[in-house]
């Protein structure tokens, strides 16, 4: 079995689903089922009498086989994120937390310093910490050192659908990491999810690309297939790529003829 280890948990699905931006709860739940995801992100919101159907805890629990990963979105500092994580754990009973701290509400780029501080605290408190970060190889190593179970670099800006713009940095992060690397944000198509998996990502986290698709439920199924295909390709071992570097005159003639 090719399982994804995260903290003391293992998952057979390598597609993690975000639950935001869906037109309605029912479509979201159908998409979760169609995706085969076992780890699903949720956000803390204030209860509002007028939007009762917002409460996703009950409906998601009914699907079965789902582990919740609350995020700390809305937090713009480490202290706020830590507080959100505590409240979320109270509510979910899940040790997972996606540390997501974006001080700027327009571009939603993660704050590396606050993310590091919050992750350090939460890891020491026993959370399974999954920080959402820019594709920064040094930050990824620093987060690994303080006990994060994974690092989740972005492929491109949240919701932008620009795909794996950061692939060079992602390559470096994957190459140097000893924890699973999960691409979070920016993916648009199942093909991009497959490409991320082929690079050696341990999983991908997808939300907008499914929620905003023409048929979200069908797209969830397509992403599931893309992730499986990419993972199988990675474990099978891709054919080596040629460098296409060609010298104008022989470089190794000084060696003489091979005996």
């Amino acid at each position: 079995m090719d399982l994804l280890p995260l903290g003391s948990y293992t998952f057979s699905s390598r597609l993690i689903l975000g639950t935001g931006k869906f037109s309605d709860t029912r479509t979201m739940l159908d998409a979760v089922r169609a995706s085969g995801a076992e780890l699903v992100t949720v956000a803390l919101r204030r209860f509002n009498r007028e939007q009762m159907e917002d409460d996703l805890f009950g409906p998601l629990s009914e699907i079965g086989g789902i582990t919740l990963m609350p995020n700390t979105s809305g937090a713009s500092s480490a202290a706020e994120a830590v507080r959100a994580a505590h409240i979320a754990r109270e509510l979910s009973g899940s040790p997972f937390v996606k540390v997501e701290i974006h001080p700027n509400p327009q571009h939603l780029m993660p704050d590396p310093i606050e993310t590091f501080e919050a992750s350090k605290i939460l890891a020491s408190e026993g959370f399974i910490v999954m920080p959402y970060i820019s594709a920064d190889p040094v930050l990824a190593k620093r987060l690994e050192e303080v006990g994060c179970a994974s690092v989740m670099p972005l492929g491109s800006a949240i919701g932008s659908g620009q795909g794996l713009k950061t692939s060079g940095m992602l390559d470096l992060i994957i190459r140097e990491s000893t924890v699973p690397v999960i691409v979070d944000a920016g993916l648009r198509s199942p093909g991009e999810a497959a490409a991320a998996m082929e690079m050696g990502c341990a999983a991908v986290l997808v939300n907008s690309a499914i929620a905003a698709a023409g048929d979200p439920v069908a797209m969830a199924g397509a992403f599931s297939l893309g992730v499986v295909a990419g993972r199988r390709a990675f474990t099978a071992g891709l054919m080596p790529k040629s460098g296409h570097a060609v010298a104008t005159s022989p470089l190794t003639s000084f060696l003489g003829k091979e005996p």
Binding site: P5, L6, G7, S8, K141, E144, E145, A149, E176, S177, T178, V179, P180, G200, A202, G237, P240, S242, G243, A245, V246, A247, P250, L251, T252, F254, L255, G256, E258, P259
Partner: protein
């Protein structure tokens, strides 16, 4: 027998390198050379960093079958005293050398840690960069060396073939394979900035050794990610003591190894010593090698004017050109010889390089 750690035995890690090392149709030598050259040029530019070894002492309690300084060899034993070291360093400086590698045998009462530490202190007064290739030490000892200005530690596993290792290291402290294996990590934990790894090509199956060496480097790069690394490719040369290695590594295979390592480790220094011929060294400059030794003496105290050139060294030097001649040869190939990478002000111990035990969920072999 204790099993090798997973990071060292995991063949998946080195699958890419393995396919480049096997001389199939997928990778002809010329294409590897072209790619290796392109990567080297991009990452290192047209430069070659240079250093010279200084043998401090050839006292040694170990019985390494392949070494000219093994304790059963008849070599005259001596160690350099502080004033001699100073004189040697000044002679080296006159040759233009400002990056020195201090060598000793395994730890002895005559040439032990205190002797080495004092020698490092002396050397860092005169040299821009000081590194050591001596005996395995403790984290605290490495910390003390780093505090005296030592920035690099070279420690070759010699061979990663556990059984061959047992046979070749007939007696002495070097017999402990695993203690030696963990030495680079200890050095880095102690604040040493760069470690040099290598195998002595010819002692065991060279391809297997190369793959294990690669996995060792990759493991260290992941776990001690702030550190610098270099990899050497010493081939067995005729030694005092007349050991004949069971495997021979020809120029083509060595070149292939160097190209493949450059492609697999694009940011790592690759080192070639004066064991190699002038033609091979000149040819490899710019194709993948980024660091070379020059004007080397492999006898204890070989640089002074009164050096006894008839004395047997640890190995026979092949490229015996002077520093000036060699630098000119590099310049003729449009490569700038470099003796200094950093201002010595930066030669203090490295900031924390914590060495962590990997947690169960942290597995390198994915």
């Amino acid at each position: 027998m204790i099993a090798l750690p997973e990071w060292l035995s995991c063949t998946k890690e080195s699958a890419g390198l393995a396919s480049m090392l096997s001389s199939g149709p997928a990778y002809d030598l010329e294409s590897l050379a072209a790619e290796s050259r392109a990567i080297t040029l991009r990452r290192f530019g047209r430069t070659m960093t240079l250093y010279a070894p200084l043998y401090l002492s050839n006292h040694c309690p170990s019985g390494c079958a392949y070494c000219g300084f093994a304790s059963d060899r008849s070599s005259k034993r001596r160690r350099l005293e502080a004033d001699e070291i100073e004189r040697e360093l000044l002679s080296m400086k006159k040759l233009g050398v400002t990056d020195v590698l201090l060598l000793t045998g395994e730890r002895t009462g005559v040439a032990g840690f205190d002797y080495l530490r004092k020698s490092v202190e002396t050397a860092s007064k005169h040299m821009q960069r000081v590194s050591v290739e001596a005996f395995p030490m403790s984290v605290e000892e490495y910390r003390a060396l780093a505090g005296c200005g030592c920035t690099g530690v070279t420690i070759y596993q010699e061979t990663y073939d556990l059984r061959r290792y047992e046979e070749l290291h007939r007696w002495g402290p070097k017999k402990d394979f695993f203690h030696r294996l963990e030495t680079p990590a200890r050095a880095l934990e102690g604040g040493i900035k760069t470690v040099g790894l290598g195998v002595l090509l010819g002692l065991a199956d060279p391809l297997e050794d190369a793959l294990m060496l690669y996995r060792h480097v990759r493991h260290l790069q992941r776990t001690c990610w702030r550190a610098g690394f270099s990899v050497s490719f010493p081939r067995m040369r005729p030694q005092a003591g007349g050991y004949t290695p069971p495997f021979s590594v020809g120029d083509h295979l060595l070149a292939r190894m160097i190209f493949a390592f450059r492609i697999a480790l694009p940011d790592t220094d690759l080192v070639l010593s004066t064991r190699e011929s002038p033609a091979f060294r000149d040819g490899m400059a710019g194709l993948g090698i980024t660091r070379m030794s020059i004007a080397s003496r492999t006898t204890v105290g070989g640089y002074g004017d009164d050096a006894d050139n008839a004395e047997q060294g640890q190995f026979e030097v092949f490229d015996d050109r002077t520093a000036g001649e060699f630098c000119n040869a590099l310049r003729a190939r449009n490569i700038e010889p470099v003796f200094k990478n950093w201002e010595p002000a930066y030669n203090g111990p490295s900031s924390v390089n914590p060495v962590r035990e990997l947690q169960p969920e942290q597995r390198e072999c994915r």
